[in-house]
Point group: C2
Chain length 157, copies 2
DNA sequence: TATTGTTATACTCTATAACTATA
DNA sequence: TATAGTTATAGAGTATAACAATA
C-alpha cells in the first residue's frame, strides 16, 4: 500500500489517502514490507530461473540431503501436491535427484546434483545481497531484535 | 516453514530439518510471520465474506469517500485490472456505490453504503481482535519499534 | 496523445479430494 | 488401515496487452 496524493478542493493542497484505520494493524505493516521484499526477491532470483519456492526447496535439499518429499513439504509449510511440481522442475533441470528408498519403496529421498549445489551457491550469494539491500537502513542489532520479535509470533503456531 | 523432526540413524534422537541457510535472511522470518498472520486474517474475515483485499478496499472507500478506482489501485499497490473484480464484488453486495464523476466522465467515485459502513465496523472489530491475538506476546513498545523498523524498509520504495 | 476503467489472458501459489503403490 | 507420492482441479493473487470512452 502507498500513501497517495489526491487532488483536493483547493488547488495546491494535497490530500493523502487515509489509511489510518489499516495502519493500526501490525499485520498491515508486516504485509506491506513483505510484499516489497518478496517482489525484490523474485527479481533477484529470476536470472537463475528460480522463484522463492524453487529456491527454498533447493536450499533445503542441499542442506538436508536424503530428505523425503513429505518432510520437505512440512518444512516449507506447503501441501504435498503443491510440492510435486516444484520438485519436478528441479529434477528436470537436473539440480536434484529423486532416489528410491530401499527400506520404504513408497518414498523418495532427494539429493542435490553438482549443478544443484553450484546454483545454490550462486543464488544464495545473490539473495544475500538482496537481503542486505532491503534491510540496509536497519542496524544489525535492530535486525536481531526484529527476528526475535517475529520468532515470538511464529513460535505461537 | 517449520522445523521438523526427522528420524535419524539412532532410534531416539531427533534430527531437525536444517534451515540455517534460510534463517540468515530477514526476508525468511518476515515471510513466515506474514504467512501466519495472513492465514489467521483470512479465517477472521471469512464470517463476513471478506478477504484481505476486499476488506482493505472497503476500509479505504469508507475512510476516503469519493476515491477513484485508479487512486484505490495505487493505495493498495495493485494493478487497475485486478481492482475491477474486487470493486465489482463490493458493489454487487451493495457495500459500495460507483458514481459517475461529472467533471471527468471517464472516472467513477466510490462511496460506501450504510451496509458497507456497518460491515466495516463489525469486520474491523474482528480484525482488531485478530491483530491483538497475533502480537499478544509482543509488548506495545516492541510493536511500535517493529512498525518503525518496517517503515524504514517501506519508505525506501 | 494520454488517462480511466475494462476485458481477456496467463502465471503462480494455495487447498482439497481421490487415486496408486506400498507399509 | 495408514502413509508417500501423484493427479486433477479450483480458488485466489498478480501482471501485461489491448480496447472503448473520454480528457
Amino acid at each position: 500500500m502507498k500513501q497517495i496524493k489526491m487532488n483536493s478542493a483547493n488547488d495546491n493542497a494535497l490530500f493523502v489517502a487515509d489509511d489510518v484505520a489499516l495502519k493500526q494493524f501490525m499485520g498491515y505493516h508486516l504485509k506491506r514490507a513483505t510484499n516489497i521484499v518478496m517482489s525484490d526477491l523474485a527479481t533477484t532470483l529470476a536470472p537463475y530461473e528460480l522463484r522463492m519456492l524453487t529456491y527454498t526447496a533447493l536450499v533445503l535439499i542441499v542442506d538436508n540431503p536424503g530428505i523425503r518429499q513429505f518432510q520437505l513439504a512440512v518444512a516449507m509449510d506447503i501441501e504435498r501436491p503443491n510440492l510435486v511440481i516444484i520438485i519436478d522442475e528441479l529434477e528436470q533441470r537436473e539440480l536434484i535427484l529423486r532416489e528410491k528408498v530401499p527400506t520404504d519403496r513408497r518414498a523418495y529421498a532427494m539429493h542435490p546434483t553438482l549443478a544443484g549445489k553450484q546454483l545454490y551457491k550462486k543464488a544464495t550469494k545473490a539473495v544475500n545481497t538482496h537481503d542486505k539491500k532491503m534491510f540496509k537502513h536497519v542496524s544489525k542489532t535492530d535486525q536481531k531484535f526484529l527476528i526475535a520479535t517475529l520468532q515470538k509470533l511464529i513460535d505461537q503456531y
